[in-house]
Amino acid sequence: MSSSLRPETLGTAGATDAAAPRGLGLSLLWSELRVLFGRRRTWALLLALAAIPVLIAVAVRLSSAVPAGRGPAFLDRISQNGLFVAFTAMLVSVPLFLPLTVGVVAGDTIAGEANLGTLRYLLVAPAGRVRLLLVKYAGALAFCLAAPLTVGLAGAAIGAALFPVGPVTLLSGDVIEPPQAALRILLIAAYLAVSLAGLSAVGLFLSTLTVVPVGAMAATVVVSVVSQVLDQLPQLEWLHPWLFSHYWLGFGDLLRQPLLWDSFTGNALLQAGYVAVFGALAYGRFVTKDILS
């Protein structure tokens, strides 16, 4: 049957050659990003993250001068330079808020689709299991970048609004101009995004194990907490360099002049290892899984 002969299927005439896949099939990636960043939950997560620098800035603005050396690093410098709101907020959000939001997104990747039942329709479309897994992980990575970026940009914005902005003194003692400081904020956001890649891979794997997204989300967050607790125990010092959270706060090198990339590459290598291991586990689990939801 030729569909072009039937007027009622004119709309479908362009898709007749079902055997030929087109291009790289990036449609699914775009669709994933649109669904992820279009849904209200993602916006709520990003808004909650943006609230952290706002709270810090407002608290500092309303209080009298913060004594030097108390509270989180950089806190005492905010009243002189608003850009420090961004640095402070990014530092503060590393242990809990960023892993929490990333856990929600990464834990939801496969389990969320399974829970809605859309997983079976994506696979029947067919999306291809490996391709779907890659796209889902890419979506989680995009959120890993968006989350610290939101904290940094919201921090810079609220800092600039409430406090004077001027040259920033780095940890090395060098002074850089505000545009350069903004670049450093972006660099730290990139560092944190890389830092969260390993946790995302863990979340992706956990997400292939269940059809209850909340379970995978909670498990991912617990894993990040456990990793940080282990990192605090001196008895386990041999283990510390292998914990994915070990370098999470190691972005101080990005606040020196000249820039030191050692911690960035070390962190990236460690995260790549986690991505490889948990990516392989997720692949092994998902490719053979019976989709019964």
Partner: protein, 332 residues
């Protein structure tokens, strides 16, 4: 989209769905047991069975969602699940009810699912989505979030998803679930028009009247096994039929029927005479049995005054119950 067109990846095939020894075990439980399905090309194939008889598990295996414990599957002449990339773009499916992102609109949901396959042309996506929505009568609700859809609307959207691209095979699992009588009618008409275009339709259902109305073939499952399969008229025929004679001469009628090798039994009398019935298994199919017209001739020749004569066939429902068990005592 035709299999016979000879384009790359397409080929001719005899059976649209063919399984051999298809088995699925969950632990010790055998959900599907050595299933040999044969769905001819162009058929509207009713897949019947009580709840829990393994219909949906079978469909999941056909579509590559679940792996078979044993046996082989061929769809459109190609092996599943290994060749899913060639097969599935040509198959539309509604599996165990519709499922959508509640926070997206109906049309956004279809866009999303259409984007999932590399085989669907992005350029025609909008036109195809609009067309599919129109075919199921959802154009007016295209921009509404699925969250606000009724069950029937979701069901229609699920069918629209199956129709996004031209398909050679449609697998519809309980397509009229949740639909009102008008919606049911529309689905029936849709299935008929798709079948008229040459699409093979595989409908699972427990609504027998529905299957009886639209299907050309059927298979009946019970407790994971296939208990009957074939063209619908054959299925009905293989069930027993009875003749029913209304006559004032019950005695001569009984002896006349007995002479033909039948086993007549008296039935409650009617106002216009006594009633004698007899089982007539395999009506017309096997040569050993007398044809109805010969029975009447025989009765009349024997001096029986025949006031009424009927051949009562089992309905598909009777046949279904005979195959799968009565009431809640279905075989588990």
């Amino acid at each position: 989209m035709t299999a016979a067109a000879g384009g790359p990846g397409s080929r001719t095939y005899g059976l649209t769905i063919e399984t051999k020894g298809l088995t699925k075990r969950f632990g010790h439980q055998v959900a599907v047991n050595a299933l040999d399905l044969a769905v001819p090309q162009g058929a509207v194939f009713g897949f019947l069975g009580p709840n829990g008889s393994g219909k949906t598990t079978t469909i999941r295996m056909l579509l590559g969602l679940a792996a078979a414990s044993a046996g082989t599957i061929e769809l459109l002449g190609m092996e599943m699940p290994s060749q899913f990339r060639e097969v599935l773009p040509r198959v539309g499916a509604l599996v165990e009810g519709p499922a959508f992102y509640p926070f997206l609109s109906g049309s956004a949901n279809l866009h999303r699912l259409d984007a999932a396959t590399r085989h669907a042309a992005p350029g025609t996506r909008k036109a195809r989505v609009d067309h599919a929505l129109e075919r199921v009568g959802l154009s007016h609700a295209a921009g509404k979030r699925v969250h606000a859809y009724s069950l029937g609307m979701k069901q229609r959207l699920g069918i629209a998803n199956a129709l996004l691209s031209p398909r050679e095979l449609l697998v519809l699992d309980e397509p009229t679930n949740g639909l009102d009588p008008q919606g049911t009618r529309e689905v029936r008409n849709l299935v008929r028009s798709l079948a008229a275009d040459g699409t093979t339709v595989f409908v699972s259902s427990h609504l027998l009247a529905e299957v009886e109305q639209i299907c050309t073939h059927a298979a009946v499952m019970s407790a994971g096994r296939l208990v009957a399969q074939g063209p619908l008229p054959d299925l009905r025929r293989s069930g027993s039929a009875r003749i029913r004679v209304v006559t004032p001469d019950a005695g001569p009628a009984t002896s006349a029927l007995a002479r033909l090798g039948l086993a007549p039994e008296p039935a409650p009398a009617q106002p216009d005479g006594q009633v004698v019935t007899a089982a007539l298994a395999g009506l017309g199919a096997d040569m050993g049995r007398p044809a109805p017209e010969d029975i009447v001739a025989h009765l009349v020749a024997g001096g029986v005054r025949v006031r009424g004569f009927a051949v009562e066939r089992e309905s598909l429902e009777d046949r279904f119950v005979a195959l799968t068990g009565e009431g809640f005592d279905v075989v588990q």
